[in-house]
């Protein structure tokens, strides 16, 4: 049961990495959205520092959303998705492997990059670590939620916009907890509660959302 999932993980990562522009687009999008904030709000360091956690988190949520748009689209168009649905292992595990591959190649780069961008906006020391940590726990939840939306809107005209409407409201709790953790750290308040809650969200999402993704995929394929 593990081998097919390993094959899928390897295949998806190598497909994303060979295409390269997907990774570059998402990373560039993330950076550009964050740089828009100083341009729009003004360069005062104190103001930028205040909005930094929210800016980075909003940018990460939007980048996650645009990158997930195509999570199943290619496999659906060329018939691979049918084959995945008919493979011996449960479709939910297959979906989980696909989301994991997607997060490793498109979500993790954002986590790694976030301390640099946080620093540019004036965050320091422990705040940067909390920022990266909150993204590390939060972006997989965003990926799983987005994958449900991607599966539901497969083959729908204007699916990307519809997916944003469906999924962005569900991103709210993650966004509040993630940005909240960094805010707490900035006021030297205990930030562990926020991180624990993010971890709890991830622990709930990890076993449950793949089932929802598989259900949505089956309806799309029917």
């Amino acid at each position: 049961m593990v081998r097919p999932l390993w094959t899928l993980l390897q295949r998806d990562i190598s497909l994303i990495v060979t295409r390269r522009q997907d990774v570059l687009t998402v990373v560039a999008f993330f950076v550009i959205v964050i740089t828009l904030f100083p341009l729009a709000i003004g360069p005062e360091p104190e103001k930028l520092r205040t909005i930094a956690p929210g800016a980075v988190w909003v940018a990460a949520a939007l980048a996650s959303l645009i990158s997930l748009d195509r999570l199943f689209a290619d496999d659906w168009r060329d018939g691979t998705l049918e084959q995945l649905a008919l493979a011996p292992q449960p479709l939910a595990l297959t979906a989980l492997a696909k989301v994991l591959a997607h997060w490793l190649s498109l979500g993790l780069p954002l986590v790694i990059l976030s301390p640099a961008l946080g620093y540019a906006l004036g965050l320091q020391g422990i705040e940067l670590a909390v920022l990266a940590g909150s993204l590390l726990l939060g972006t997989p939840v965003l990926s799983l939620l987005g994958a449900v939306g991607a599966a539901m809107t497969l083959g729908v005209r204007g699916g990307g916009a519809l997916m944003a409407l469906l999924i962005l409201p569900l991103y709210v709790p993650v966004l509040i907890l993630g940005a909240g953790a960094v805010n707490e750290a900035m006021f030297a308040a205990p930030y562990q509660a926020h991180l624990s809650l993010l971890g709890a969200l991830l622990a709930v999402a990890l076993p449950l959302l793949p089932l929802a993704i598989a259900g949505a995929l089956r309806i799309t394929l029917d």
């Binding site: 097919p4 390993w6 094959t7 497909l15 060329d78 691979t80 029917d222």
Partner: protein, 228 residues
């Protein structure tokens, strides 16, 4: 069907495994009714296909051939009725029964970025099947892809992509083949080759369900299912 098995089995391919637990190797459809949206395609379709039998689904465009085949392999849910494979409901197959079925749809499930060899390997990996490199190369050679095993599929013609997909049949241990319009984009030689493979698969006790708008002269005597 008991045609003489004078022909040598192809090298590098496992025979159809007998069902160890004694579940009858049959594909049964019971009073199937299907519809797409508001459109009622057919109802009351039933048959039992046994080992070594070929079912040919015939019907005009839009009569529901593809829907029937997708229902038979469990991708679509019938409005009424049931499909059973190895005695299990097709929508709830266990791992072993799922492995015994291979579906080839309109789309080839061939990735542009990967070579035929990689495509074959990934496809097998996803099904948890194992084969050696020699077996895969041999399958591609037989499918008429000798010389383009290492070329990314985006540079291949439609017919060559189809052959890449069909090469799966050669190294899969699955007993039931569900082939939707397998002749599309194939040239005459490839068609003759595929008919030969289907005949051999039936002789080994496999089951085949297929549909085509082209002539099927050259295939073993099929059971015909007419949709109208």
């Amino acid at each position: 069907m008991d045609a003489p098995s004078s022909e040598q089995p192809a090298p590098g391919r496992a025979g159809i495994r007998s069902q160890a637990d004694g579940a009858a190797m049959t594909l049964e459809a019971e009073r199937l009714a299907c519809r797409r949206g508001e459109l009622h395609l057919f109802e009351g379709v039933g048959f039992a296909l046994a080992a070594g039998e070929l079912l040919f689904v015939r019907g005009r465009n839009g009569s529901g051939k593809t829907t029937l085949l997708r229902t038979l392999c469990g991708l679509s849910e019938p409005a009424r009725g049931q499909v059973r494979w190895l005695g299990q409901d097709i929508r709830r197959l266990d791992e072993r029964a799922q492995r015994q079925m291979l579906y080839l749809g309109h789309q080839d499930a061939v990735k542009d970025e990967l070579t035929p060899l990689e495509n074959l390997q990934v496809h097998q990996g996803l099904r948890g099947e194992r084969s050696t490199l020699d077996e895969r190369l041999d399958a591609l050679e037989q499918a008429g892809l000798g010389g383009c095993e290492e070329i990314p599929a985006r540079y291949l013609s439609q017919g060559q992509r189809r052959r890449t997909a069909l090469a799966r049949l050669l190294i899969s241990p699955a007993a039931l083949w569900v082939l939707d319009e397998p002749l599309t984009a194939l040239d005459r030689r490839a068609v003759a080759w595929l008919f030969g493979r289907i005949a051999e698969h039936l002789r080994r006790g496999g089951l085949v369900v297929t549909t085509s708008h082209q002539s099927i002269d050259g295939l073993p005597e099929p059971r015909i299912l007419e949709l109208d």
